[in-house]
Amino acid sequence: MGKSIREKINFRNIIAIILFVVFLIVEFFYLNKNNTIKVSETNSYETSDNLFLESREVVATISDASISKEYKFATVSETYFDNTLFIGDSRMLGFSIYKQIEGATYYCYQSADAFTILDKEYEVKPYGMISLYTLISLNQFDKIYISLGINNVGAGYENHKKHFNKLIDTIIDLQPNAIIYLLANLHVTSELKLDAPYLTNENINNINKFISQIADDKNIFYLDPNVMYDDEYGNMDSELSYDKAHIYLRHYDRYLYFLLTHAVVYE
């Protein structure tokens, strides 16, 4: 007697082959899906992921790249920073590592942003674990430098503006006599957009633009240290950074020089 159909056809093998074919189809769709994220010429980030939809509001082409205002500044020595508070994210943290200026207080940490910085507690010498709100409630500073914004690229333009304004209003309320310096967010190198498509200098410039509009030139001043680091295209010089976003510590000498030569002194 010949073999039965069951003996001739190994159903297990057929199922294994079917599984293999299904695998090929699944793999095809998976790889195809991962390749559909595009970055258009205006750097808007097109994707079905809702996380990034709001960031498209941040994107705009700026016809006028010049957003800094003209001031007459004085050149001062480091004693100018006595009783000064530096607030910021990792870029300001880098500055604090480079130089602990005598008499200055640093409230800066990685991932700091306008949304949470008032309430989050952080170790600050010589106060210990303290929130920014408590720090500025209990102490009066002569000058306050603020460098924030880049950690909120992608958070939604209006939302960011709202929180940043709230932060500045709180500082003004609690520090009525302080000169407030709003520092532009440093640019990133042109290569960074390959790793982080929405972290572009156009988006950073948008944030810097609304920060500059808060300045009143009486007690609140806007400073743009990007002049110390940019190449001719308005990107951070790629020689100055390892990760395309933070400058090497040794290049904070330029940051310090910029602050020392852009000081407001009331007569």
Binding site: N13, I15, A16, I17, L19, F20, E27, L31, Q110, Y248
Partner: protein
């Protein structure tokens, strides 16, 4: 396709295991081959040159293999052997030297060694079956294709023919895989942040303590990354009943540098020992120390070049070689009397050697080494304070995982199937979460 991706964990591996276990004995070989081929193609479809090189070398080596096995005249065998080995070495060197391109086909360093191994063993008349499907499965066996462990053909055939399939193997294999994945995602990738932070600061701006933390971080990142990957490979193979050789065996518990290199990247060490050191004469019965030292220098030069044609790899290799020669000369006698000295040498000099290995720019290396001994930098240690605040926990956990205790814990878990299942599920879930956090939130990764 790396093992630590969603694609591999959720799509490739489940489909592969299901297909493999459904297929009957004869079809299993075909299924394994199909998935191995796809594994490489999926990982390299954007770089077709990689696929072409692998196909070309696989085909050519098989042709030469058949000549070696079937030829009746010794001159034909020898010619085929010389051409085959030379071809593999030349292709490897051409890509390592980066004469025509900066690109190196994925897995080239490892699969060329598999080709050389099978060719040499066939030439030595190891009477084995060289059926096409067995040969292809050996070369393309996806768990070891990209980064080893380096496995001999006879070992592979023996394991494959004697393999057993049962749920115990699947459970244990997936447990090994999950531990490897955790080593890579939870330890190596997090310790990499410390290295990244130090690079962001710039080597010329770090204080002495940061430099030392960085040196140990480079070592741990290298170890957990590679050991984790090897364990994942071993786990996947074990899940289908194939036992691949261990690649790491608690190297930081060694009592000498020589012993360290018998516990670190074990299969590479065995390859160089069996195919270069021993044919050169090996240890020469302890009487011809100069010849033995020369053999060691040759082997370590080859090791350095295998990693890349860069001066830092050669410096690294020679640094280790000199220590090993000194140990053979007299240091080992000192270690025998005072074991602690040997352990201190391992814990101090091996991380230093990995610094030389990791920092490819010689000027940066010089600056970094200077920073290790710049005692005046204790005045401003703000960078160290930031590093400790952000990364102390992962650093300490990393140090703990260099000891023998995690492995002992693993062995305890292996005694119970249910403990393995719970541990595997937990480790895979946590690792996947860590992978997702790293991939989806660019800002967390850059940590502005």
């Amino acid at each position: 396709m790396p093992f630590n991706t969603h694609n591999f964990i959720f799509i490739f591996l489940p489909f592969f295991l299901l297909s493999y276990y459904l297929a009957d004995v004869r079809a299993k070989k075909v299924i394994l081959l199909l998935y191995s081929v796809l594994f490489y193609v999926i990982g390299n479809y954007k770089r077709l040159e990689s696929i072409f090189i692998l196909v070309f070398l696989t085909f050519m080596n098989y042709v030469f293999l058949l000549f070696i096995v079937k030829a009746k005249r010794d001159i034909v065998k020898k010619t085929a052997f010389i051409i085959a080995v030379s071809m593999n070495i030349i292709v490897l060197c051409l890509f390592k030297l980066q004469l025509f391109t900066n690109f190196i086909p994925l897995g080239l360093s490892f699969y060329t060694f598999h080709f050389i191994s099978i060719i040499v063993d066939a030439y030595k008349n190891k009477h084995l079956s060289y059926k096409l499907i067995d040969y292809l499965n050996y070369i393309l066996f996806f768990p070891k294709l990209l980064s080893g462990p380096i496995m001999r053909y006879d070992n592979f055939i023996s394991e494959y023919s004697q393999r057993q399939s049962s749920e115990n193997y699947v459970v244990k294999g997936l447990f090994f895989f999950s531990v490897g994945l955790a080593l890579k995602c939870l330890l190596a990738d997090n310790i990499a942040y410390i290295i990244n932070q130090i690079n962001v600061y710039g080597f010329d701006s770090i204080s002495i303590l940061t430099a030392w933390v960085g040196m140990y971080s480079y070592t741990m990142q290298l170890y957990f990354d590679f050991a984790g990957y090897s364990l994942m490979a071993i786990g996947v193979a074990y899940a289908i009943g194939i036992k691949m050789p261990d690649n790491f065996n608690l190297p930081f518990c060694s009592k000498s540098i020589s012993e360290f290199w018998r516990r670190w990247h074990i299969t590479l060490g065995h390859f160089f020992r069996d195919y270069i050191y021993i044919p050169l004469g090996g240890n020469f019965a302890n009487k011809r120390f100069i010849r033995q030292s020369l053999n060691l220098i040759i082997v370590w030069l080859v090791t350095g070049f295998w990693h890349g044609f860069r001066i830092n790899y050669i410096l690294w290799a020679m640094f280790i070689c000199i220590i090993i020669i000194l140990e053979k000369a007299f240091l080992i006698n000192i270690y025998k009397k005072h074991e602690i000295i040997g352990r201190i040498v391992v814990c101090a000099l091996m991380p230093f050697s990995f610094l030389i290995f990791s920092i490819t720019n010689l000027n940066d290396l010089k600056i970094y080494i200077h920073k290790l001994f710049e005692f005046s930098s204790v005045i401003n240690m703000r960078d160290f304070q930031v590093i400790i605040k952000n990364y102390a926990k992962i650093f300490v956990i990393g140090i703990l995982f260099l000891t023998k205790y995690p492995k002992a814990l693993m062995e305890i878990v292996c005694k119970s199937k249910y403990m393995m299942i719970i541990a595997s599920a937990s480790l895979i879930l946590i690792s996947i979460y860590a992978m997702s956090m790293m991939n989806s939130d660019v800002f967390k990764y850059f940590a502005f």
